[in-house]
């Protein structure tokens, strides 16, 4: 065994330091692997999932009344692969009973918006190979598979389709994910056929092409398919590029904060490793002198100490890679849920490159103090004891000793001044931890606010839907769509019925109409409010909610797309007429990629009676003490004859927000633990170096409690200072990252959603640095309290 090897092995006997080093490296590598892995995974989740599932480049829908299945199948002639035709129908599901185990607060009897159902025999096939995320595929009548993340359902839930013949109730037997988003639910072809009349509903056909890279190529294919069937038979075709754009926009919102956490993690790793290795070499200075006195060369000493740092680091790194990959599983699961893609894993190369980089950082960080060790003058090194150089921090000790504090406390408070550089490093580490906590808390608070703000688009405890246009399916011979007067009459009847219902406090209605808007190509959705909507206005980013006719509110994306600003005028055209309205507010609204205009019904009066409103909804605020469920039950009895229905308004919880919260919480916890480990290591080093003084204090009567107090207060100043630095830095980071996330999502954010840090929140966060430092010091404080006085006094 070589001399160097023996030194390295002897290093292993410094158990506490080696364990701390291994744990710190473990946590740093875990955080780095997780952050880097997520960063990489978030780069192209849609492409990966799409390739894995052989996603559909084009998903075409056909009217069953106008085309035969054979004619639909024949449209696949020019494609590289195809699947279908599958029968489809759009039906409104009503919750029948909950069979899932999670106990979600979805009440029975709630009718949800229409869902696209597809009859499909299996999940496999040449195109759109669905991933079953729970349960199994539907194989028998009465079974249905729901799209994962697309509804509140779980395996075992039962759903009634009241609009279908025979009002069938189906059981959810599985949850599946389609990257192409081809349906919201699937059932067997036989079951679907039973739920739709002979010529009603439609067919779905899925295509893959060899040339599908651009929208133009897909448009050409779309045109060719439409030309292969009777006129108007193809009712729509969705390009995968549209789905991809939406999915990647979601993914892009993750990038700013994952990058922020990743950078924090890496900085923290370098810092802590530096503290640990420098401390390790510094604590062994006298031993180095002995080694050199017996004939070790400077190079051998340097190699030995780099090697000594690398042994626990390698152990920690290997475990960190494993832990990082394991920790990524639930987070990536949430992320893939948010992206609507197949489950992802950390790229293998991340698990190689990150640990290698971490070990290189350890070696580089260790090299500097190791080189110093190698160059130490032998006699000088031999004369160095373990106690820090006397003289440092004396002024601080003297001044603090004058304060009316218990002596152990003032002794502890003065301790950081005896090793200023080490204390500064640990302040930086804890500050990074406090920064991470502040950023994580701010992120969670802002995300909750944003979720709440987005939910304001759907105000009211109860929402009433009424059909304003022709019933679904092909029009009966001779049937004319309802006139404006008839639609108005229906709306008035429904509104009157709701307002007459006991328990109703106030209402307003919304409906949608497709209009041309100056500056935007194609149709734009205009949401029309009627009634006093002051209590149900959208969350505003800037400007204000409209308070009269001729005013509109638009999302950020609309302003960006049109180049308009608040105060500008926008022209809305339809039915051959136009009206002008002034943009008075920028709203928080991510629906329809921001291509939406919100205004008062009177604004559109100039367009005449030809405007075809659809999706009439009456938003109902209930009187105090009224239960939404019982109110809805009573109201539905009244509304059914009017062709309307009420449902409890269930607040949305975005899976993207859940994924972000999970990820931010995981990374924050890791940062805090790494910071705590840094403190632990520093206090262990300090305590070891000052163990003789500790023996003296104990010999003079310092009790274990006083010892613990002294050690804990030795990090109190560090913690407070770190909190005072880390919290403002975290707030600044939050203020930089949140808008970047908003921009990635295509929206600005209300200032109040960014400025979430008020005094009651900031004060505990500042104390958070103290808590991190205190937790890190707790173990060595206990060790210091337990050490035998005689043993400590014998220590050099």
């Amino acid at each position: 065994m070589s001399g160097v090897g023996r030194i390295v092995r002897a290093g292993g006997r410094r158990r506490v330091q080696s364990v701390v080093m291994a744990l710190t490296t473990l946590l740093a590598v875990t955080a780095s692997v997780l952050a880097a892995g997520l960063l990489v995974a978030s780069q192209a989740p849609f492409d990966k999932g799409f390739a894995k599932q052989q996603g559909a480049h084009l998903t075409a829908a056909f009217d069953a009344a106008l085309v035969t299945p054979d004619a639909v199948a024949a449209t696949a002639a020019g494609s590289a692969a195809s699947a279908g035709p599958f029968r489809t129908v759009s039906l409104r599901p009503t919750t029948a009973s909950s069979g899932g185990s999670s106990g979600r607060p979805i009440p029975e009897g709630v009718t949800l918006p229409p869902a696209a159902l597809v009859g499909r025999a299996d999940a496999a096939g040449p195109v759109d190979r669905l991933d079953l995320t729970a349960g199994r595929w539907a194989t028998a009548t009465g079974e249905i598979v729901w799209a994962a993340g697309q509804g509140p359902f779980e395996v075992g839930d039962r759903i009634t389709f009241a609009d279908a013949p025979g009002r069938p109730t189906l059981t959810v037997v599985g949850l599946a994910r389609s990257v192409s988003g081809t349906a919201e639910a699937w059932t067997t072809p036989q079951q679907l056929a039973a739920m739709v009349a002979e010529k009603a509903g439609g067919y779905q056909m899925l295509y893959r092409f060899t040339d599908a890279a651009t929208e133009a190529q897909l448009t050409a294919h779309r045109t060719a398919i439409a030309g292969a069937v009777p006129a108007d038979a193809m009712t729509g075709a969705t390009s995968y590029l549209t789905v991809k754009h939406t999915a990647e926009r979601t993914a892009a919102t993750f990038v700013p904060f994952v990058v922020a956490f990743g950078v924090l993690g890496l900085c923290m790793s370098v810092l802590i490793i530096g503290v640990v290795v420098s401390g390790s070499v510094g604590a062994a200075t006298r031993r180095i002198g002995i080694l050199k006195a017996v004939g070790f060369t400077p190079a051998q000493v340097t190699r030995a100490y780099v090697g000594q740092a690398l042994i626990p680091a390698v152990v920690g790194t290997v475990l960190g890679v494993v832990l990082g990959n394991l920790a990524a599983v639930p987070v990536l699961h949430e992320q893939s849920e948010a992206f609507g893609t197949a489950p992802m894993t950390i790229e293998p190369w991340v698990s190689v490159v990150v640990p290698l980089a971490a070990l290189a950082a350890v070696a580089a960080t260790a090299f500097v103090p190791a080189l110093r060790a190698g160059r130490l003058h032998t006699v000088g090194a031999l004369s160095v004891g373990r106690t820090p150089v006397a003289g440092r921090g004396r002024t601080a000790r003297r001044l603090l000793g004058r304060l009316p504090l218990p002596r152990p406390v003032s002794l502890g408070l003065a301790n950081p001044f005896t090793s200023p550089s080490r204390s500064a490093t640990i302040v930086a580490a804890v500050a990074l931890g406090a920064l991470g906590v502040t950023f994580g808390v701010g992120l969670a608070t802002s995300l909750a606010d944003i979720q709440e703000g987005l939910n304001r688009r759907d105000a009211g405890a109860v929402v009433v839907h009424a059909r304003m246009g022709p019933p679904p399916g092909p029009a009966a011979p001779g049937q004319e769509p309802p006139t404006a007067a008839e639609r108005a009459a229906t709306a008035a009847k429904v509104t009157a019925a709701v307002q007459a219902q006991p328990g109703t406090r106030r209402t307003f209605s919304t409906a949608e109409v497709e209009l041309s808007v100056s500056g935007l190509a194609g149709a734009t959705s205009v949401v029309v409010f009627d009634g006093d909507a002051s209590w149900g206005s959208y969350e505003m980013i800037s400007g204000r909610w409209f308070d009269g006719p001729g005013q509109v509110v638009v999302p950020t994306a609309f302003l960006r797309a049109t180049g308009l600003r608040l105060g500008d005028t926008v022209t809305l055209s339809g039915t051959g007429r136009s009206v002008k309205a002034r943009i008075v507010g920028e709203s928080l609204d991510l629906s329809q990629d921001g291509r939406v205009v919100v205004t008062d019904a009177v604004t559109l009066a100039g367009l005449g009676d030809g405007v075809e409103l659809r999706g009439f909804e009456l938003h109902v605020d209930l009187a105090a003490g009224v239960t939404a469920k019982s109110y809805v039950d009573d109201l539905n009895a009244v509304l059914e004859p009017l062709g309307a229905g009420a449902e409890v308004n269930v607040a949305d919880i975005s899976s993207t927000v859940v994924a972000m919260d999970t990820l931010a919480a995981t990374l924050t916890v890791l940062l805090v633990v790494v910071a705590g480990m840094g403190v632990l290591n520093t206090v262990v080093l300090d305590t070891r170096e000052r163990v003789h003084d500790l023996g003296v204090f104990k010999a003079l009567g310092m009790s274990p409690r006083q010892t613990v107090a002294m050690v804990l207060t030795s990090v109190a100043g560090t913690g407070l200072l770190a909190g005072a630095i880390g919290v403002p830095a975290g707030i600044l980071l939050h203020h930089a990252v949140l808008p970047a996330m908003g921009r990635a999502a295509g929206t600005g954010l209300p200032p109040g959603y960014i400025a979430v840090f008020d005094l009651p929140m900031v004060l505990p966060l500042v104390l958070g640095g103290l808590v991190i430092a205190g937790c890190g010091a707790l173990l060595p404080a206990g060790w210091a309290a337990r050490i035998r006085t005689a043993t400590a006094l014998r220590t050099e």
Partner: protein, 236 residues
Amino acid sequence: MTAPLIQISDVSKRYDDGPPALAGLTLRIDAGEAVAVLGASGSGKSTLLNLIAGLDRPTSGSVTVDGVRVDGLGEAASAKYRRARIGMVFQFFNLVDDLTVHDNVLLPAQLAGVPRGEATARAGELLERLGVQRHARAFPGRLSGGERQRVAVARALMNRPSLLLADEPTGALDTASGREVRDLLTALHRDGQTVVLVTHDTTLAQECATRTVELVDGRLSRDVRHAGAHAAGGAR
């Protein structure tokens, strides 16, 4: 017959698998005595001092000091016991280098929670009495060995202990400084302070102690009272 200040009964102490540092030692020391414990290296002298100070526990037997069973005390009770009853002087002074002389002397009182004014007055009085008042604001590193040991003695007396323990108090001092410390300990004993000192220095034992105890391999081999030792008396 009055109760002894220190009663050591059949005490043995063994470290790991080595030979016993103390083997069935029984010793009684009365208040006002000045006892010198002599013996070769490894004879058990320092172990005996540590047991009396509550810094270590015997493997068997009992140690009672000033009515307190020291061998059964927990860490916290042991610390309180030392604060209230024991003053310790070490061979290498064990002053805290980063604290001034004054702050070193104050330390036991501060740990015991003595009011600041009272502690400061007591520290000033001790520094004056031991002739190191002029060094009150200095750090120990600037003092001579004899001066440092005087500071250590002042610190040991801070809480008016019933027992002063000194472990080779002149072991690290030159001849002149050693004499200073010998005179100091003698004077303290003359003033009524009970002193137990461990030493190789027979001169110190003869001049300071009223009684000499010699240990060999952890056992009591000799226990001699000095006929011509100075008389005890006066207040501490």
